[in-house]
Every structure is written in structure tokens, then in C-alpha cells.
């Protein structure tokens, strides 16, 4: 596999001005508000945000898995020279699993309990690669081995309940990668696992990613996981990106108050000052009733510009791929808590 060159080459996937709205009795919930990003071959992009920030919905819509109605999805998801959002259901089916694949959060529920592991692993290759049963099985065994499942031949006939959580997530990864997709969307794949298993899964995905040249969109609320795997990080709040940076820049030099808050609320091993753990005050906004101006301003400890409450700040490029959605520079004092 050639080394990916982020930034220079044509991106594999380009998301432009993606909006997702849900129409309900309580009004329209605008959960994704115009997000744009590129995914380059082989890179790892992390989307970080708390529950309800719209990170999962935005990625589900990349696969056409957000049911419309009730949702309305608009914008552009450019893949292979076309806008996927214009696809018919039939075209979507050809994309899913084959070009873009997904791993879900909870491995305990994402495998069908009544089918063998093998049956579920051969499904994708049979659908997309037109393989015979025997070939699909051989491929499945190969992938089970690659995700580190011992004696994969035997495990093919196992049922999900016979496997541990970590094993099941490995199976899910094998299912996701079995058709050699160009982009793998990992929706908090480690959240439901033990910490020790988490590290193994993170490592496994990065390893396979190098081996197969797959780009990974890693969705998480855990900045600790992001630090280990991501090339670039997008911080999402209330359906918008508030900061975009390389992973090193983000940790060393966060520019948005929300990112400061996230980093400040991260426990650090070996630091004997648990009182230093800072929670972000308040709750994420209700997507049917977003605050005026910057969506974060009601919770923001700075609000250093008079426009904060009235105008939505633009995503301001501050050089070297680093961008932040603020009107002002966050004072240095705050940065120290983060570093």
C-alpha cells in the first residue's frame, strides 16, 4: 500500500454542507447543521463530541441509514464521483458494506443471535463480491484470522453467545472489512468494552487499516482513544464542528472553549489532583430549540466577544489545517489546565 498523503491527493470521501433535520411534533430538530470534511485514503479521522452532538446521525447518513422521513438529509456526500445522497435504495445497497462499511457500538447486540458467525461473515462477500459459498467461506475464515480470532475455522460455526464481547467486536470488524471497503466508519466501537480490550481493539483497527489501506472515521466521545489512533480530529458540538486540527495540535494548542472543556474534563493518570477535573457546566442544547449565536455560548466561560450571543461564529482557519469556530482567542490560562 502506498503511503497516504493527506491534503494533497483527491479525497476518497468528501462531505459538504451536510444537514440532517428531524421533523417532529415539538418542532424541527436540526441535529446536523452544515458539516463539511474530507476523508483521504488510509487516514484516520476522529469525530469527537458528547451524546446528542449529532456525530452518529451524521455518519449514519453517509450510508443512507437515516430513515427519510422522518429525517431530511441535505448537502453532499461525494464518493466515487457522485453524490451518494442522490442514490436510489438499490444504489445505496451496492455502496453499503462494499465501499463504506460500519462497525457499531455494542458488539453484544450487533450480531444476529440465531446465525453462526460464519453465516454473518459470508453475507457481505456473497452480496458484493459475487463469491460462491465456498469462496466466501474461505474469505471469511481468512478475515477471522486477521482480526486475531484463534482457530478461525472452528469459530465459523460458533454462535455469537459463545463468544466474549471482545471476540464479538473482532467479528464485527471482520464483517466490516470483509469486502475491502475504502472507508470504515467505527461508531464508538470500544465504548462497550473493558479498558484492556479497548486498547486491543483500537490497535487491531489501526493495524488492519495499515494493512488494507482503509480510511477510518472514528466516532467517539473519548479523547483518550482519539489520541492513540487519529490523524485529524473534528470536534462536534450541537451539530456543527467547532474545531478541526491534527491530533497533536488539538492536544497541545486547543483553540475552542468547548475543546478546552473536553480536555479539562479528562482524567489524567498520575496527576494527583482529582479536584482539577473540570466538568463543563450546563447541558448540551435541545436541537429543537438551539440558542441564538454560538451554540456553546450559554455554557461558555469566556464569551469574550459581544457577537457571541447573536451571531454564529464562522469556522476560522488559523493555519496548518487548524480551524476554530470562535470570534476571539481563548486566553492562555485556560490552555494550561489542558496541557
Amino acid at each position: 500500500m502506498t503511503e497516504p498523503a493527506p491534503g494533497s491527493a483527491e479525497p476518497v470521501l468528501r462531505v459538504a454542507d451536510l444537514h440532517v433535520r428531524f421533523g417532529g411534533r415539538r418542532g424541527v430538530a436540526h441535529v446536523v447543521r452544515g458539516i463539511s470534511y474530507d476523508v483521504h485514503a488510509g487516514e484516520t479521522l476522529a469525530i469527537v463530541g458528547e451524546s446528542g452532538s449529532g456525530k452518529s446521525v451524521s455518519t449514519l447518513s453517509l450510508l443512507g441509514l437515516v430513515p427519510q422521513p422522518p429525517a431530511q438529509v441535505s448537502g453532499e456526500v461525494r464518493f466515487g464521483g457522485r453524490n451518494l445522497l442522490d442514490s436510489s435504495e438499490r444504489e445505496w445497497r451496492r455502496v453499503r458494506g462494499n465501499d463504506l462499511a460500519m462497525i457499531f457500538q455494542d458488539p453484544m447486540t450487533s450480531l444476529n443471535p440465531v446465525l453462526t458467525v460464519g453465516r454473518q461473515l459470508t453475507e457481505g462477500p456473497e452480496l458484493h463480491l459475487g463469491l460462491s459459498e465456498a469462496d466466501a467461506r474461505a474469505r471469511a475464515v481468512d478475515f477471522l484470522g486477521r482480526v486475531g480470532i484463534p482457530s478461525p475455522e472452528r469459530r465459523m460455526d460458533a454462535y455469537p453467545h459463545q463468544l466474549s464481547g471482545g471476540m464479538r467486536q473482532r467479528v464485527m470488524i471482520a464483517i466490516g472489512l470483509a469486502c475491502d471497503p475504502q472507508v470504515l466508519i467505527a461508531d464508538e466501537p470500544t465504548t462497550a468494552l473493558d479498558v484492556t480490550i479497548q486498547a486491543q481493539i483500537v490497535e487491531l483497527i489501526s493495524h488492519l487499516q495499515d494493512e488494507l489501506g482503509t480510511a477510518v472515521i472514528w466516532i467517539t466521545h473519548d479523547l483518550g482513544v482519539v489520541a492513540g489512533v487519529a490523524d485529524r480530529v473534528l470536534v462536534m458540538y450541537a451539530g456543527q464542528f467547532v474545531e478541526e486540527a491534527t491530533v497533536d495540535d488539538l492536544y497541545a494548542d486547543p483553540r475552542h472553549p468547548y475543546t478546552h472543556g473536553l480536555l479539562g474534563s479528562l482524567p489524567v493518570l498520575g496527576v494527583d489532583r482529582p479536584d482539577q477535573l473540570v466538568a463543563i457546566a450546563g447541558l448540551p442544547p435541545d436541537p429543537t430549540d438551539l440558542p441564538s449565536g454560538c451554540a456553546f455560548h450559554p455554557r461558555c466561560p469566556y464569551q469574550l466577544d459581544e457577537r457571541c450571543a447573536d451571531e454564529i461564529p464562522p469556522l476560522r482557519d488559523i493555519g496548518q489545517g487548524h480551524a476554530t469556530r470562535t470570534f476571539y482567542e481563548v486566553p492562555d490560562a485556560a490552555e494550561e489546565t489542558a496541557s
Partner: protein, 309 residues
């Protein structure tokens, strides 16, 4: 072609038992540990064997008339006695087993196939499709079962084939409802979404991911519906809309025996007993199956089994 060979080897080499069979075995074990259900299974098995070999076992032809031996009480030669035409009731009840089981099987198959398909579609697609299909099923439900069957037979005309169709139609809504209810919860499962995320279409998802996960309640309902279908057939034959003379259907024999109840109780008693035991056995097996297939009840049964032994 090496792969199929290795596959066969693996199967022959018997790796740790695959769970499909171990699950089936588990259900079978629970069913057998429930003594009542076991008795039901034994009775049902005996009935099926009797139905299969009835022509070999039956000592007389079903329509072998012997006017000189009419209304004879049960004896060694004629264990169930004879009817008003001197026909051997034992032979007739025996052959009647075939009719009852066949009607039950065909009628429930009709109900099962159409009901499950309707339930899958309604539950999976939801919305207006669901509303339309389920309101239609509600209309069927609004009529008492036997009345609806009579109405269908009034349109189709009496006869055993039409009775099967009528009973099938009557029991279809139950299957549709049960299937839909289970599908409503299964379709929200992550594994269904995961299947869609690898590009599976609706048909594939329904067949491979939804149907196997809603099978348990459907299996239980099948067994219970068999009992009711047999009962319905007997009722329809009794009132003359099902099997026609001189077929030895239990309901029909019951109707004929009714007129002779004072002189020859055995004419009505034995067909009635046959219906009773068949329906009872099916009900008991149905209950046992429900207990064995429902994980929430598993512990209760296992403890019951412990107390019993």
C-alpha cells in the same frame, strides 16, 4: 474443489456442537422434562403413527356395511362397537385420524404462511402498510371464528377442501398479529441495522435476520392452532359443512351418533374421545413448547423439573 471437501471433513470431525442443534436439543430437553408435555408428545406421536398406518391396522373397511350387526355394543371383535349401518366404529375412528390431522396440517399451513408473511410486511414496513394490513386483520378478528368459517363455507360451498381453506383464513390473523408484534421489536435491533449497513436488502433482512428471531412464538402458536383447527373441522363437519357422508370424519360421526345416543352411546363417545385426546395433546405440547422456548420462563420450568424428580 478443495473447499467443500474440507468443509465436509470438518462436519464429520465433529467440532464442539454447533449451537443450532444444541439449542434445539435444549428445547427438546426442557420439553421432555415437563412430564405433561412429554405425555402430549407421546400421544401425538402415536396419533401420527396411527394415521400413517391406519389402513393396515383397521380390521374392517370404513364403509363395510353389515346390517345384521348394526348398533352392536363394544366387544373383542368390534372394540368400539358398530353404528346404525353395522360399520366398525374402531376402523372409522382410526381412518378419521387421517382426516383430522390432514385438515389440521393443511389449514394451519395456510394460516401460517399467509399470516406470517402479512405480519412480517406489516411489522417491518410499519406506517400505512401496517395500518392497512392490521385493520384488515382486525375485521377478521371481529367475527367469532366458527361464524367466519361458516361464512367462508357459505361462499365456497361445503366440503373438506373448502373447510381447510376456511379454517386457514380464520386462523391467519392470529399468526399475522403474533408475527407483527415480534417483528416490531426485532426490526429495531442493532443487528438488523448492521445487516443493512453491509448492503443487505429488505427481503434478505426479513428472511435471514428477522424471521429466525421471531420464530419461537410462531412455533408455539402453530401447535396451539393445530388443536383449534382440528376442533373447528370437527365442528364444521358436525353441522354438515365440512366432511360429507360417508367419510369417517370425527365431527361427522359425532353428528350421526347424536341421534342414537340413547341406544348406542359408543357411536358418539369414541369419535368424541378421539377429538378430546388429540386436542388435549396438542394443547399440552403447545404449552410445553412455549415454556421451553421462552427464556424468561426457563428457570421456572427447570425448578419445576427439579421438584418433580
Amino acid at each position: 474443489m478443495a473447499a467443500p471437501d474440507t468443509m465436509r471433513e470438518r462436519e464429520a470431525g465433529a467440532p464442539p456442537a454447533p449451537a443450532a442443534s444444541s439449542r434445539t436439543r435444549e428445547v427438546a430437553r426442557l420439553l421432555v422434562s415437563n412430564r405433561l408435555a412429554l405425555a402430549g408428545v407421546v400421544v401425538l406421536g402415536a396419533l401420527v403413527l396411527l394415521a400413517l398406518f391406519a389402513p393396515l391396522i383397521a380390521p374392517f373397511g370404513i364403509n363395510e356395511i353389515a346390517i345384521d350387526r348394526r348398533l352392536e355394543a363394544p366387544s373383542a371383535a368390534r372394540p368400539f362397537g358398530t353404528d346404525q349401518l353395522g360399520r366398525d366404529i374402531f376402523s372409522r375412528v382410526l381412518i378419521g385420524t387421517r382426516i383430522s390431522l390432514q385438515v389440521g396440517f393443511v389449514a394451519v399451513s395456510i394460516a401460517l404462511v399467509f399470516g406470517v408473511i402479512l405480519g412480517l410486511v406489516a411489522g417491518y414496513y410499519g406506517g400505512k402498510t401496517d395500518d392497512a394490513l392490521m385493520r384488515l386483520m382486525d375485521v377478521f378478528f371481529a367475527f367469532p371464528a366458527i361464524l367466519l368459517a361458516i361464512a367462508v363455507l357459505a361462499i365456497l360451498g361445503p366440503g373438506i377442501t373448502n373447510a381447510m381453506i376456511a379454517i386457514g383464513i380464520v386462523y391467519m390473523p392470529i399468526f399475522a398479529r403474533i408475527t407483527r408484534a415480534s417483528v416490531l421489536s426485532v426490526r429495531e435491533e442493532v443487528y438488523v441495522r448492521a445487516a443493512r449497513s453491509i448492503g443487505a436488502g429488505d427481503l434478505r433482512i426479513l428472511r435471514l435476520h428477522v424471521l429466525p428471531n421471531v420464530a419461537a412464538p410462531i412455533i408455539v402458536q402453530t401447535s396451539i392452532s393445530l388443536a383449534f383447527a382440528i376442533l373447528s373441522e370437527a365442528a364444521l363437519s358436525f353441522i354438515g359443512l365440512g366432511a360429507q357422508r360417508p367419510d369417517p370424519a370425527w365431527g361427522l360421526m359425532l353428528a350421526e351418533g347424536r341421534g342414537f345416543i340413547q341406544q348406542a352411546w359408543w357411536m358418539a363417545f369414541f369419535p368424541g374421545a378421539a377429538i378430546f385426546f388429540t386436542v388435549l395433546a396438542l394443547n399440552v405440547v403447545g404449552d410445553g413448547l412455549r415454556d421451553a422456548l421462552d427464556p424468561r420462563q426457563k428457570s421456572a420450568i427447570e425448578s419445576r423439573g427439579m421438584v418433580g424428580s
